[in-house]
């Protein structure tokens, strides 16, 4: 204790009357995802106070969407979350379809579901990789990044682009599965399932991650609801809530979605939650591919560049890899949205929970804490 770096630093600081100092964790910090920051007040290596420093990533999406045609916004919404772009497109399109009161063809629903689940896989791989990198296990991160590329290849084949797919449009999806796609997807899923053994060895059974994450950032069952956490973070605290089951959209009513819940609520439980949901997502894609019907992939809504949405408002929510992505769309009957409000899943954890958890935490744990809660700054700071 006497010769620990924290103790030494605080002693040096006391001597110079610099007990409390300010540290900018981000926007330029290797442990930070995106241009976001926390201003930490520190004593030695211990955090005393935290102030989220948002604004570097503000691009005015919600206002920008009011100035573009309904269909033009499809090119804009995936940029709100880079790692998991499809929930944005699907939520935005579902909200428009709710106002239009149309029901899209079943095959389009299944295609949306498959892209959503593929996007979830790629986002989980990135999330697990970020967690691994935050505790210094870079081998796991490299392997996961390479495996994520296989999913991006499939996206490229299906939609024409690797990251910003712009696949869903009001009334359905843009193109059908190419020949040989399903076989390739099965192959990739088998590969990922085999890789899980490797991930377990490298990451989830690694003593380092158990020592670092056990007890870090504990969220109780009540607190998770109180703070408004959603997705895997909520389920890791023992609350069985999943938008796919409780308020199903796309093809989820036809599929049997298994909700995984765990008791625990600390960072280790959340990490294992992601790993268990990753396995379940692979099975879910297989089930969706088996039950996918043939048929039309798009409703004919006329010329989409002249689409007029009748007066009304709708809220559509989608379960993304980080939690509930919600789009509240208001139309005044014109060619452009009157108002679009976006509910990002990282907001409660990134802004509110940070102020409860980070004080009394060591500076080394901040990056791991952020990765365990899957905080994605672009959807805090839209």
């Amino acid at each position: 204790m006497m010769d620990s770096p924290s103790y030494m630093l605080s002693k040096i600081a006391e001597k110079d009357n610099l007990t409390v100092y300010e540290l900018f964790f981000g926007p330029n910090h290797p442990g930070m995802h995106g241009n976001f920051g926390y201003v930490l007040e520190m004593i030695g290596t211990e955090i005393v106070k935290v102030r989220p420093n948002a604004g570097h990533l503000h691009r005015g999406f919600e206002k920008l969407m009011e100035q573009k045609l309904w269909v033009q916004n499809i090119a804009l919404v995936p940029r709100i979350c880079v790692a998991d772009p499809d929930p944005n497109e699907v939520a935005y399109c579902t909200a428009i379809e709710k106002i239009l009161r149309v029901d899209i063809p079943d095959r389009a629903k299944f295609l949306r579901t498959i892209t959503l689940e593929m996007s979830r896989l790629s986002s989980f791989l990135m999330g697990m990789g970020a967690l691994a990198a935050a505790v210094g296990l870079y081998t796991a991160m490299n392997i996961m990044t390479a495996d994520r590329d296989l999913i991006l290849d499939l996206f490229e084949w299906l939609t024409g682009a690797r990251v910003y797919h712009m696949f869903s449009i009001p009334g359905g999806v843009r193109n059908d599965l190419p020949d040989g796609f399903v076989e390739r997807l099965y192959k990739v899923l088998d590969h990922l399932e085999k890789r899980l053994i490797e991930y377990d060895k490298l990451l989830f059974e690694n003593p380092i991650i158990h020592k670092r994450l056990k007890g870090l950032g504990y969220v109780s069952k009540e607190d998770a609801v109180k703070y408004g956490l959603t997705g895997p973070n909520l389920r890791a605290s023992g609350n069985p809530y999943d938008v796919r089951v409780d308020d199903p959209y796309a093809a989820y009513p036809y599929l049997d979605v298994r909700v995984i819940t765990q008791e625990g609520g600390d960072a280790l439980t959340r990490a294992i939650q992601i790993r268990l949901e990753f396995e379940e997502t692979i099975n879910l894609i297989r089930r969706a591919l088996k039950t996918m019907p043939e048929g039309e992939i798009r409703l004919n809504l006329g010329n989409l560049s002249a689409l007029k949405v009748p007066k009304g408002e709708a809220y559509a929510k989608v379960e993304s890899s980080k939690g509930e992505f919600g789009y509240y769309v208001v139309s005044d009957g014109g060619m452009k949205p009157y108002r679009v409000a976006v509910r990002g899943p990282s907001l409660p954890a990134g802004l509110l929970l940070a102020q409860k958890h980070l004080p009394k935490m060591k500076i080394d744990d901040v990056a791991a804490w952020m990765a365990s809660l899957a905080i994605c700054p672009p959807d805090i700071d839209k």
Partner: protein, 162 residues
């Protein structure tokens, strides 16, 4: 998930990676071989290519473009003395969403599988001139064609808009 006892030989299992193919390719020499056609996906949304004989200069692509990347440029006059307009794509603004291809009524505007755009700069240029030079060059002009390797186009998929 428990921390089981690991074999003494477990570090040696990593040696199997010595005999595996690398994950990456050396780009100009090797091309990715994951798609039915080598390189990028068959419907890749890359740089545009426009068939000037088919293009009627209607300006639908300019209207649908979410980021104002397309400008209709006058390239001449027809017999009645009306201006002939063709689209010019500014790649500084383009987001490669492909809506301009979807909306094209004659299927003349397509996207190619090319995605690297090179601009030659002259050494003697000042910094300001260089910026202007790149601004002018970073565009698809009507007389340019990348038509040999077509990616995303509405002939391959069903028509969406219009």
């Amino acid at each position: 998930m428990s921390l089981g006892d690991k074999s003494v030989y477990s570090p040696l299992t990593n040696l199997k990676n010595l005999f595996k193919k690398p994950m990456t390719v050396k780009y100009p020499k090797e091309i990715l071989k994951v798609f039915p056609k080598d390189g990028v996906s068959p419907i890749y949304r890359g740089l545009h290519t426009n068939d000037l004989n088919k293009c009627i200069g209607c300006g639908m692509c300019q209207r649908i473009c979410p980021f104002d990347a397309i400008e209709m440029k006058v390239i001449g006059e027809n017999e009645q003395g009306r201006a002939i307009k063709k689209p010019v794509v500014d790649y500084g603004r383009c987001s490669f969403c492909g809506f301009c291809v979807d909306v094209c009524p004659t299927n003349s505007l397509k996207m190619s599988r090319h995605y690297i755009y090179k601009v030659k700069t002259v050494k003697s240029m000042s910094a300001k001139e260089e910026v202007e030079h790149i601004k002018q060059k970073f565009k698809l002009l009507p007389d340019e064609s990348l038509g040999d390797d077509i990616g995303y186009n509405t002939g391959k998929t069903k028509k969406i808009l219009g």
